[in-house]
């Protein structure tokens, strides 16, 4: 698809606002929508990955501000797991330099479908598992507590399966560096299902982490010339505005409806990435 500058910019900006709003509604960065959108508009997939990475940092900064102040974010869990996601992001960004456009497109489609399945499995009523606290997590004082405004109750929780969670975070970081996304769609289910954290604490902690993970590989993207201001700046601005809209809409929309729309969007985007991989050549 080849468009004149103004229609292209309008679609780019509008699509980024939608991606930011949807991302904020379901607790992911929005990069998972930005990359397929940009490739649909004819942008080189490597530039799309760079713009997506920037948008993840922007969304994370905006969302994390509110969640840290509300004390929903578990800083201990975030800082501990960030060691694994950052290492994973570094290796993913290095590997990405050797992967072809076709391979990147197919891997991205696979991650989109995996995220959709993860979101289906989570279900609207996922509350985190009340498991036996991990001895290491106990020693590192990772247990937390937050005030749930929806129920008016304080929610204490323990952290379990720390080793499994750390391994999953390395994989999520690797995917983030490889594909220029925040991997929130992988991190949140990992914290929810493996570590047994309540969903609100998982989403808030993931929002804190995705920006740091993305920043670990951003220098590599920048140096490779994959972050072009003409693409990255309007995307970052649109996603920022969209995430503001999304956080305001969150209380008004039914979570099941939002989740259903997001899964449908993920499936459509996966199909678009498969088509892109099939017809993009192997460059």
């Amino acid at each position: 698809m080849t468009l004149a500058p103004i229609p292209f910019l309008s679609l780019l900006f509008g699509g980024s606002i939608v991606a930011g709003a949807l991302g904020a509604l379901v607790g992911v960065g929005g990069g998972i929508i930005i990359v397929p959108l940009l490739t649909l508009l004819g942008v080189d997939v490597r530039l799309a990955l760079g713009a997506s990475l920037i948008s993840v940092i922007a969304t994370s900064s905006g969302a994390a501000a509110a969640y840290v102040q509300d004390r929903l974010t578990n800083l201990r869990v975030a800082i501990f797991l960030e060691m694994f996601t950052s290492t994973g992001a570094l290796s993913g960004a290095v590997i990405q330099g050797f992967a072809s456009t076709r391979v990147l497109s197919f891997v991205f489609a696979g991650i989109l479908l995996l995220s959709g399945v993860g979101m289906l499995l989570r279900g609207p009523a996922a509350k985190g598992q009340v498991g036996k606290p991990d001895p290491w997590a106990k020693r590192l004082r990772m247990e937390g507590e937050f005030h749930d405004r929806a129920t008016g109750r304080d929610v204490p929780y323990q952290v379990s399966h720390l080793a499994l969670g750390s391994g999953l975070m390395f994989v999520a970081g690797n995917v983030s560096g490889l594909l220029g996304i925040g991997s929130g769609a992988l991190k949140v289910p990992a914290m929810d299902l493996a570590l047994g954290m309540p969903i609100k604490a998982s989403s808030a902690t993931s929002d804190f982490m995705i920006g740091v993970t993305a920043a670990a590989s951003a220098g590599i993207y920048f140096a490779r010339g994959q972050i072009q201001p003409a693409i990255a700046a309007p995307v970052a601005l649109g996603v920022l505005l969209g995430s503001l809209v999304g956080t305001r809409l969150l209380g008004r929309l039914k979570s099941g409806w939002v989740r259903g729309v997001f899964i449908a969007v993920l499936c459509a985007m996966a199909a678009q990435m498969v088509l892109h991989g099939l017809f993009a050549g192997s460059a």
């Binding site: 004819g42 530039l47 994390a64 004390r71 578990n74 800083l75 590599i220 700046a233």
Partner: protein
């Protein structure tokens, strides 16, 4: 209003007032507010800079090539290739320079976030988490330095 008066009002109204989140382990309220505010204002500044860059580009027309996607990734692109001229271009309000400056400020926010978290753990005297924060910071910085000085050559 004192805590007792608040509880009294709560009792009279029959509805519980929203309580502040408990100060659980890992929470240092003052520093967390500082961290939240830094993130908030950093994001506002970046958003404003991006809006300025976009407005300048629309007036200038300099990003039209990018918007017709006639650009491809080019290793060593600004600011690394033309660092000497970068500040002059920024003062001249060239859209590229303003855009790159905004993106660089954005890239500084996550490491700043980890540094502030390290401050929280330092204040608590929790040296294990202080070490974890510094390790994360070292990985992020090493990764970026690796990208800037090694991988693009």
């Amino acid at each position: 209003m004192s805590g007792g008066a608040e509880r009294l009002r709560e009792g009279l109204r029959g509805t519980p007032l929203p309580r502040p989140a408990p100060t659980a382990p890992g929470h240092s309220p003052n520093l967390e507010v500082a961290l939240g505010q830094t993130l908030r204002w950093g994001t506002v500044i970046v958003g404003a800079l991006l809006a300025v860059a976009l407005a300048l580009a629309l007036v200038d027309g300099g990003w039209a090539n990018g918007w017709t996607h006639a650009v491809a990734p080019s290793p060593g692109s600004p600011p690394f290739a033309h660092l000497g001229h970068f500040w002059e271009r920024l003062i001249d309000l060239e859209p590229d320079a303003v855009g790159i400056f905004a993106l660089l400020v954005l890239l500084v926010l996550p490491p700043a976030r980890v540094l502030l978290a390290a401050g929280i753990f330092f204040e608590e005297g929790d040296h294990r988490y202080l070490a974890f924060s510094l390790i994360t910071l070292a990985i992020v910085l090493a990764s970026n330095l690796l990208g800037i000085f090694v991988l693009h050559r």
